[in-house]
């Protein structure tokens, strides 16, 4: 989940904070202090997160495009200049553009807005924007909700009382509501000082940037892992089950499936599974994703040398071309597989399926998947030539069962022509002739299209009269027999018009002999 930091650099941010201490801070200094803390946290614990920095006043500017280089971000933050008034709408539109250009509209993003809570006056102020939000034309729509899934975190370098004194708090709340309730407003508690800004950013870090640690388990083989990006809770049907489902910290492998059998399944999200070394105090000492200080290098080297289940699993999944089915929670599953980033680098990746008992129709219910060795006969065959997947649905789809559709005249004409073509090749084509005839008969009966049955009967009778002298005598018998049967069906007489009834070839002295007797 990439992050956009949207930093208010309007003049009001330079207001000094009144503190009794010796140093004098601007609100901007506090904001920079807080963001520094956030960047430091990400650099150590959330290193793979892409972050960009946008500064805004009446205009907005992309200071740092999406990067994992937190030094660059920090540098840009330190060199931030001061500009004029606050104009949030344009800035949010900017964020929307920046994100869409980089990640499209399906990638969830987090927007961290840092402001002092003075949201401008007059045109371009947030108040003005919100008042006119309903009177927009299509191309000047308010940027919220963002077209991509998002969380909007508003960090105010101000305390709640201050914001409530004006309508700033109301406006910010309205902003979150416009984003579908996705987001949160953070305010400072107590006096504006370094300590309270730390505690505010600390809350954001806990809420949005705490790494997800779990234990990957395959029977008795286990490994401590970090899952990145953090899997977010999912709600499928608010009405029936309003509680969002979360991925549990115990990831249990239930079995293995060939890549060809799982067959590019649709997934909610993808996550890296990084093995981590956990020492006795339970602290993480290096996930490969963290910055390696000198001290960590040795511990990392140690960790690198002791066998880890993730590496074994990854290696075998890659070699065998298989995936591991993993349980994420009650009735929720995902898959683990080897993902190659380039020819050299590859990784253990986890994809989450949609929660539910049957996320993939071609696997059936997951709870009904059991060990192949329990089956009476090896479902994969003795030489691995077979597979129990995909599961065949009970009914075939229309395109797999030769349905009859006559909505376009051409559909009907094609079917009639098929019968006539076969009629001219009787008796060789007797089977196909009756098959096509019965198909037409069934459809005509279902559609109540008796007129068609009569017409086709007449056509067959005419074909009978047009038969050349060289024709096989059986052809004439079959044609008049078929025509008679169609006429009977068109009468609606239940004896002849039964849907499941089939017209069968007439038994003649010639039938069975085929064309062989002809001289």
């Amino acid at each position: 989940m990439p992050t956009v930091v949207l930093m208010d650099s309007s003049l009001s941010m330079t207001r000094p904070v009144s503190v009794e201490g010796s140093e004098e801070f601007q609100r901007k200094n506090l904001a920079v202090h807080g963001l520094t803390m956030l960047f430091e946290h990400m650099a150590t614990n959330y290193r793979l997160e892409f972050t960009s920095l946008v500064a805004f006043s009446s205009l907005w500017e992309l200071l740092v495009p999406f990067t994992r280089d937190y030094n660059t971000l920090q540098e840009a933050l330190n060199n931030l200049e001061d500009y004029d008034k606050t104009c949030l709408e344009a800035a949010l539109q900017g964020v929307s553009n920046v994100v869409q250009q980089e990640w499209g509209t399906s990638c969830p993003c987090q927007v961290v807005l840092v402001t002092d809570g003075s949201l401008g006056i007059g045109r371009g102020s947030l108040r003005h924007s919100l008042q006119t939000v309903k009177q927009r034309v299509e191309d000047k729509r308010f940027p919220l909700p963002f077209p991509f899934p998002s969380k909007l975190y508003v960090l105010c370098i101000a305390n709640a009382e201050e914001l409530q004194a004006t309508d700033s708090m109301d406006n910010l709340e309205q902003l979150i509501n416009l984003n579908g309730g996705e987001g949160q407003i953070y305010t400072m508690e107590g006096p504006l000082c370094l300590k309270s800004v730390q505690s505010m950013f600390g809350k954001l870090i806990d809420q949005a940037y705490s790494p997800f640690h779990a234990v990957l388990r395959c029977g008795n083989l286990t490994s401590d892992v970090q899952v990145f990006p953090r899997p977010e809770p999912v709600t499928i049907d608010e009405e029936v089950d309003p509680l969002p489902k979360s991925v549990q910290t115990d990831l249990e492998i239930v079995g293995f499936i060939e890549i060809g059998d799982i067959s590019s399944p649709p997934v909610l999200s993808r996550h890296l599974v990084l093995p981590i070394a956990v020492n006795k105090e339970g602290d993480e000492i290096g996930s490969g994703a963290t910055d390696e200080t000198e001290e960590e290098t040795s511990t990392n080297q140690m960790a690198g040398k002791s066998p880890n289940f993730c590496v074994l699993l990854h290696g075998s999944l890659k070699v065998e071309g298989m995936v591991a089915l993993v349980q994420l929670g009650p009735d929720w599953f995902g898959m683990l597989y080897s993902q190659a980033d380039s020819k050299k680098k590859s990784n253990l990746m986890m994809s989450l399926f949609e929660p539910g008992s049957e996320p993939l129709p071609w696997l059936g219910r997951i709870s009904q998947l059991g060990p192949a060795s329990d089956a009476a006969e090896n479902p994969y065959g003795e030489d691995d030539s077979k597979s129990p997947f995909p599961i065949q649905p009970k009914n075939k789809r229309s395109y797999a069962q030769n349905v009859t559709v006559w909505i376009k005249a051409s559909g009907l004409q094609t079917d009639v022509q098929k019968i006539l073509r076969n009629a001219r090749k009787l008796p060789e084509k007797t089977q196909t002739f009756y098959k096509e005839l019965n198909r037409l008969r069934k459809a005509a009966l279902a559609f109540g299209f008796w007129e068609l049955l009569k017409s086709v009967a007449e056509l067959l009778e005419r074909e009978c009269t047009l038969l050349p002298d060289s024709a096989h005598p059986d052809a004439a018998f079959q044609l008049s027999h078929a025509a008679k049967q169609l006429k009977l069906a068109s009468s609606g007489d239940s004896k002849y018009a039964a849907y499941e009834h089939n017209i069968t070839p007439m038994l003649t002295d010639f039938s069975g002999g085929g064309g062989a007797e002809r001289i």
């Binding site: 880890n308 060990p371 395109y399 109540g448």
Partner: protein, 704 residues
């Protein structure tokens, strides 16, 4: 989409009154004479469908598309109305297919034009439809049962699509009023029943059908709320293709469908096998397959065009070669079932057959300029075709650290092939719904418990194990992990053990002996001891499973008790034995104790020099325990020592020096200083420090 939205239940009400037998006045020429045969033959008069036939085939087409895209959860109840009500199916899932409906329709037959029009009405059908919407479906029942105390969350909504020929706007209003009244009535009844649910929301879609060339008597009307429960809309449509088009639009609206046209499909011509023309095929599917286009406002950029009456839009995607193979795992964000718009046209059936034969096609977004973007894939699974949405934007996971850079990344002798074999043995397969074992476990629970059994003893790297490198152990290793053993299985295990005993007697080399430096007789004893210990560990892990598993362990314990000649040898080499015992114990206990004293550490190192397997033993029991601190320096000082991990060939000189060192080491007691040395350096006069009041715990050893 909510599970129990309005589209969960659709009641079709088709008017079967005498006026529906009227001709649609759309003529179809079915006598297509070929030129050569046309001479002297008078073509037959064209046929024309009745209003009824038009209504039926269009509603069947609606159902066909619906069942293709939603084989479950979206249910249709088909009702035909004349002087009475004919209910052709139920909400049951097994009744939901066009074949059943066609058979039932054939039984009803076309309307009888001679029936008394006075006693016929579509009203009967509408009343029946409301009653039917009150009936609970299997899905509603199941959800209510699982939700228990929050069962009220299961909603009851539905839609009534009425195909009729109304007389006037007043007539239409009368029908609407009747539906509203019936809903109110039925809701009261339903409140007191288990099998019925009051209707919370109902959409009435009235489609007035009139013959071509006539003026309509009924006006179109947009959706309008008649009450909080009922909304209604009126469509006045000419029969024939206009009606077909209308119902196609409706099915898309009702079930959130969208259209994609696959363009540039190369297809072999029947007549000219060498040439191929390019065709287009239009498919319907859930509109979420276009979500990326919709959200980014790119619908037009993606090649969307308005067609026909301007009612529908379709997104054009280009057939893309080369095709993809099935063993590639694409990052796919959605997969949606499709239904071809023109199901039995030649291009459609060519495309669907191609896919049903197991091939997949990548689809490309046509762009005026720039690089090609592959955004979708068509693929079939079990006879169903899906449109997969592929991620075509930048990935947030790009350039991740390689797994070899992380924990355990530098270990090179993982048992990759063995674990691959393990995965194959633990592949999953579907079991029928009723398959629950004696303990009441579902198949997936059995799969988990099998994984647990199979991993009770599973060393991850080659140098941690002897037995899994031995072909001779395979039969036992495969059997012992099983949930239950037969007598025959026990016999096989015992044979394996006897076989090992035999190997030991013959002093067959063990696979481990190829590793590191080697000696002759005594060495082999040691190898076998390690092998037996490991085998015991494996079998002990399963001994609780059943009495037969216990018998296998008993067999091992009985067989490995030393034969007499070995007993003798043991006495002769008592001194050495002692040392070995310590090492072995050491290996076992490292987990708890680790390396505590320097002397033990030294012995361990010496043992390893002499005998590689014991090193393996040590790692095996505690892969995570810290390595001896002075291991590396010692190795560095003894240049002849081959690097243990590389297992390269051993030089004659190192063999010789090792042997001499070993022989010598047995002849004298080791100097105390050397025993407590670090990097072969021992601190002298340690007691002085102590006397000066300094605590001496260097090297982890108190010299007191």
């Amino acid at each position: 989409m909510r599970m129990f939205s309005v589209s969960h239940k659709t009641a079709f009400v088709v008017d079967h009154c005498p006026y529906m037998a009227e001709s649609s006045r759309q003529l179809i020429e079915c006598d297509m004479l070929t030129k050569s045969r046309s001479q002297g033959v008078i073509p037959l008069a064209p046929v024309s469908k009745s209003l009824w036939t038009c209504a039926i085939e269009c509603s069947m087409e609606y159902c066909r598309i619906l069942y293709d895209v939603y084989p479950t959860m979206k249910l249709v109840n088909y009702i035909v109305s004349d002087s009475e009500v004919h209910i052709l199916n139920s909400w049951k899932q097994e009744d939901q297919n066009t074949h059943e409906l066609m058979a039932a329709l054939a039984a009803v037959g076309p309307p009888n034009p001679r029936q008394d029009p006075e006693c016929c009405s579509v009203l009967h059908g509408l009343v029946a439809a409301v009653e039917s919407l009150c009936k609970i479906t299997e899905y509603q029942h199941e959800s209510r049962t699982t939700l228990m105390d929050t069962a009220e969350r299961v909603a009851n909504r539905g839609r009534i699509i009425c195909l009729t020929n109304a007389k006037s706007d007043t007539h239409v209003r009368m029908l609407e009023d009747c539906v509203l009244e019936t809903i109110q009535e039925q809701n009261k009844r339903a409140a007191g029943s288990d099998r019925l649910m009051p209707i919370q929301q109902c959409e009435l879609v009235l489609v007035h059908i009139y013959p071509q060339g006539e003026e309509t008597l009924v006006s179109d009307r947009q959706k309008k709320e008649l009450s909080p429960v009922l909304s209604s809309e009126v469509h006045s449509v000419r029969s024939g293709r206009y009606l077909a088009c209308k119902l196609n639009v409706l099915v898309q609206q009702h079930f959130d469908l969208a259209s994609t046209t696959i363009t540039n499909i190369p297809m072999k011509e029947e007549q000219h096998a060498n040439t191929s023309a390019n065709y287009d095929v239009e498919l319907l599917h859930h509109r979420d397959a276009h979500i990326e286009f919709i959200k980014s406002g790119d619908l037009h950029m993606a090649g969307s065009t308005s067609r026909d009456s301007g009612l529908k839009e379709t997104v054009t995607l280009k057939w893309c070669t080369p095709r993809t193979n099935s063993v590639e795992l694409h990052y796919c964000t959605g997969a949606y079932r499709i239904s071809p718009v023109d199901v039995n046209s030649r291009p459609s059936s060519c495309l669907t057959n191609f896919l049903l034969n197991g091939r997949s096609v990548l689809l490309e977004q046509p762009r005026k300029s720039g690089s090609k973007v592959i955004s979708h894939m068509l693929s079939s699974h079990g006879g169903e075709i899906f449109l997969h949405v592929l991620n075509s934007t930048r990935s947030t996971l790009e350039d991740p650290p390689s797994i070899s850079e992380g924990c355990g990344g530098r270990v090179t002798d993982y048992r990759i092939t063995d674990f691959g074999e393990f995965m194959r043995e633990n592949r999953l397969t579907p079991f029928p719904e009723s398959m629950v074992d004696a303990a009441g476990r579902t198949p997936v629970e059995r799969a988990k418990s099998q994984l647990e059994r199979h991993t009770r003893y599973w060393p991850m790297i080659i140098s941690q194990t002897t037995i899994f490198n031995m072909q001779a152990v395979v039969p036992l290793a495969n059997l012992i992990v099983k949930d239950s053993l037969t007598d025959e299985d026990v016999l096989t295990c015992q044979k394996t053990v006897y076989n090992l005993v035999d190997m030991e007697r013959k002093s067959d080399p063990l696979p481990i002996s190829t590793v590191g430096s080697r000696g002759k007789g005594p060495k082999r004893d040691e190898q076998y001891r390690i092998m037996w210990n490991e085998l015991e560990t494996l079998v002990k892990a399963h001994v609780g499973t059943s009495e037969r598993h216990q018998r296998v362990l008993d067999c091992i314990s009985a067989c490995r008790s030393k034969p007499p000649e070995e007993e003798e040898r043991k006495k002769r080499g008592r001194k050495r034995e002692d040392k070995e015992d310590k090492t072995e114990k050491n290996g076992k206990d490292t987990e708890e104790k680790g390396w505590t004293t320097d002397s033990e550490r030294l012995k361990g190192v010496m043992e390893r020099e002499k005998d590689e397997p014991s090193e393996c033993e040590i790692i095996k029991d505690s892969p995570d325990s810290p390595e001896p601190l002075n291991k590396k320096p010692r190795l560095a000082t003894e240049e002849q020592q081959p690097p243990e991990k590389s297992k390269g060939p051993v030089s004659l000189l190192s063999l010789w020096t090792n042997r001499i060192t070993q022989a010598n080491s047995r002849k004298h007691q080791e100097f105390a200083g050397r025993l407590s040395s670090v990097n072969n350096k021992a601190e002298l006069y340690q007691h002085l420090k102590e006397e000066n009041g300094m605590d001496v715990h260097e090297n982890g050893k108190a010299t007191r």
